[in-house]
Symmetry: C2
Subunit: 227 residues, 2 copies
């Protein structure tokens, strides 16, 4: 029987969550990844999530399905809203924001962790490049930690969830450098909001733009764009 | 166009949530109910939820599906664990506890409310009779309110979620009295953890026992048991 501590790692298959998985692996946890098919525009990121989980040698890969499309309300879950082009200067909440997404994801992670007897949850949120998303900010993560403790057995058993957000204060270039140092193969990751039918990134959305600029700053080409 | 304020009401089809729906109706909200098919042992409660929503004249009945069975960890989502008999003296967290269930349910409610432009969520939690469930206690509900604000547009737009828990401090008899005064037909509700194949309550589990004792205290028979 494994004596490693178990961790639940939220895994979208994107650059950030795959780097976060590599950090959890470096920190020597038994890895239980959790991905969601929530009606997002494309499934390519879920294929990437599975491949990256396999490459990291995870103990369990969980995929949970539910359908947020019936609510619309985001360009990522509605065909009626277009994904906007990259706009590095924008500061308001973007149309790609999915209401309460990380709240939902973390809630499932807390449930899975409780069932596994794990107290450790990893999430690849980042508040520098994605500050437009409220559910990526430290104040939310901290409030969730408290809320999850009070809404589970933790409160009666006297323990706390550790919500690890190792990318919280890193710039995109620093995240990539960290991942490369841990052996992440970024050609296997997918971040684009609006890929073509074959899964190729559009190269134009916020997510593609952020990646491309960061790789260039490091003197590299984004290997996902070269796929 | 309706000028009523919209409310999202979590609706399991049980005695408490149906009473909670009647309170939201009394308070003159446009009603958007949210029910979950999460892999619970039986679907009869979802049929009851739909019937009760129709009877209350709700604007929208939402049913969201996901599968918690793959995690087990509760007698309600696992065939390997038996539902225990009613034990009014028990004080620890019961085996029917589903990890982080209300955290997950409220997270979806927050997402739906945000998409609808609603700030009001109703949940039929009750901390007197169900104090064994951490996610029914006031401290959790309050922490969730804060967490949901910080994890959604609320924080940037300067508003708060109102999490209405009108049954929080009522005893089961008081809940039933309240519901009867609001015209709730309790024969349409379903609370049993372990019904037979035709949907008839077992009459033996915690949930049946609590109902039966409360109706008797009021000099009534539980109409669900007489179905």
């Amino acid at each position: 029987m494994s004596t490693l501590k178990k961790a639940v790692v939220l895994l979208s298959g994107g650059l950030d969550s795959v780097t976060c998985l590599a950090v959890a692996k470096r920190d020597n946890y038994e890895l239980h990844t959790l991905s969601f098919d929530y009606g997002q525009r494309h499934k390519i990121e879920l294929e990437c999530a599975k491949r990256c989980a396999d490459a990291a040698g995870v103990k369990q890969f969980h995929l949970l399905k539910f359908d947020l499309r019936m609510w619309g309300a985001s360009a990522l879950t509605s065909d009626k809203l277009d994904v906007p082009d990259y706009n590095p200067g924008a500061s308001s909440i973007p149309v790609t924001y999915v209401p309460a997404r990380n709240l939902i994801f973390l809630s499932f992670a807390a449930a899975l962790a409780e069932g596994l007897g794990s107290r450790d949850i990893f999430i690849g949120v980042n508040s520098l490049d994605y500050s437009g998303y409220p559910d990526c900010r430290p104040a939310f993560i901290d409030a969730f930690r408290n809320c999850a403790r009070l809404g589970t057995k933790a409160v009666d058993e006297g323990w706390e969830y550790n919500i690890h957000a190792p990318l919280q204060n890193l710039r995109k270039t620093e995240i990539i450098r960290l991942g490369l140092s841990l052996g992440v193969d970024y050609s296997m990751t997918h971040s684009c909001y609006n890929p073509d039918a074959s899964g190729r990134p559009c190269g134009r959305c916020d997510s593609c733009g952020l990646r491309r600029d960061a790789f260039r700053e490091l003197g590299l080409e984004d290997p996902a764009l070269a796929r």
